[in-house]
Subunit: 202 residues, 2 copies
């Protein structure tokens, strides 16, 4: 199935709780290609020699906003280790993209562009009210106000991470080939749209 | 055909030469609803009592960048007349949106949001190389370097205009429900995607 895809490599950037992972999973099943999310971070660990704890704590949030900004301004050792982790992740992303696949997050769109590897770059987002349902599933027992805070912080951290490593604003659509509001369009319909473009048919 | 549309009102923001008007025309034919571009500015003239020359020169570029910035900073009479024209255009846009239609440009997405009128808000863009073909059709006899300058200036003027009247960056996808790179996805395919969403079928 994956042999005749117009875009064999798909990157998905997303807001927290905008169903990016769900859409990646649907596409993975329909197109019969793997998707990589948090799991592939472990591959980075193996390649880079970092401890699993170090890489997991870096994620896309770089531990905590204040720590990140502090390190950003002072260029401390901790900051440098994040850079090393990012470099190791770049190698993993470029290696993954040698085969058809879907890569969620980790500035994969930028990494592949820089490496000259073609990809269909997607960004998924939604209004807060729509994302609250997913947030409640992921963080049971929290009230709406707290869920909103969690989402806001996650999105801020991702945006800072993207800005730091790519030099671009992750909310500027010109980084991507298509940006879809999953709440307005619908999760299944978003998957349909991306699938159609990736197959290059219809 | 227009009776059962999930999104009877569509707004299209676009980069210069990204085929926004072409896609509006295709959608207009397929969905059997009118689209409004430069033509509806003339309605504004009638409603607002401005001369046709005044309104045509305002367009979305506000005459010239330097004039606009100067007026923006000094709040001169000329600047106020642009505000009055914008206000008049708002009334026209809100009136047009009482019936199913497509509105291209003029911050229609923002105007309708402010008025509480639901719409599907689309932004269309593309890489410079793709847009050059359209630019050459619109401005025959110019070399590539000059066409690039024309496009860049048009986009800058539109971006400033949008920022001034909406307070938002027109390149931030969260203003819209979907943003499509017409060069990567293809003009016809973009029309397919929008049509599918607007009909709410499939």
């Amino acid at each position: 199935m994956a042999d005749n895809l117009k875009f064999p490599v798909i990157t998905i950037g997303r807001e927290y709780c905008a169903y990016g992972r769900t859409i990646a999973r649907i596409l993975s099943e329909r197109l019969d290609i793997p998707y990589f999310d948090k799991d592939f971070v472990k591959k980075t660990v193996i390649e880079s020699g970092f401890s699993e704890d170090e890489v997991n704590s870096e994620g896309e949030s770089i531990s905590s906003l204040s720590l990140f900004i502090e390190n950003f301004l002072n260029g401390t050792a901790a900051y440098n280790s994040y850079d090393d982790i990012f470099e190791a992740q770049k190698h993993v992303i470029v290696n993954l993209a040698k085969e058809p696949c879907i890569i969620v997050g980790r500035c994969a769109d930028f990494v592949l562009k820089e490496a000259g590897i073609p990809s269909l770059d997607v960004f998924l987002y939604a209004e807060t009210d729509f994302k609250l349902k997913r947030a409640a599933e992921l963080h049971p027992g929290n009230d709406t106000a707290h869920l909103k805070k969690i989402m806001k912080k996650q999105d801020e951290l991702r945006r800072i991470y993207y800005k730091h490593y790519t030099g671009h604003d992750s909310y500027d659509f010109s980084n991507y080939d298509l940006c879809l509001n999953t709440g307005i369009i619908g999760v299944e319909k978003c998957a349909d749209i991306i699938e159609d473009i990736v197959r290059g048919t219809r």
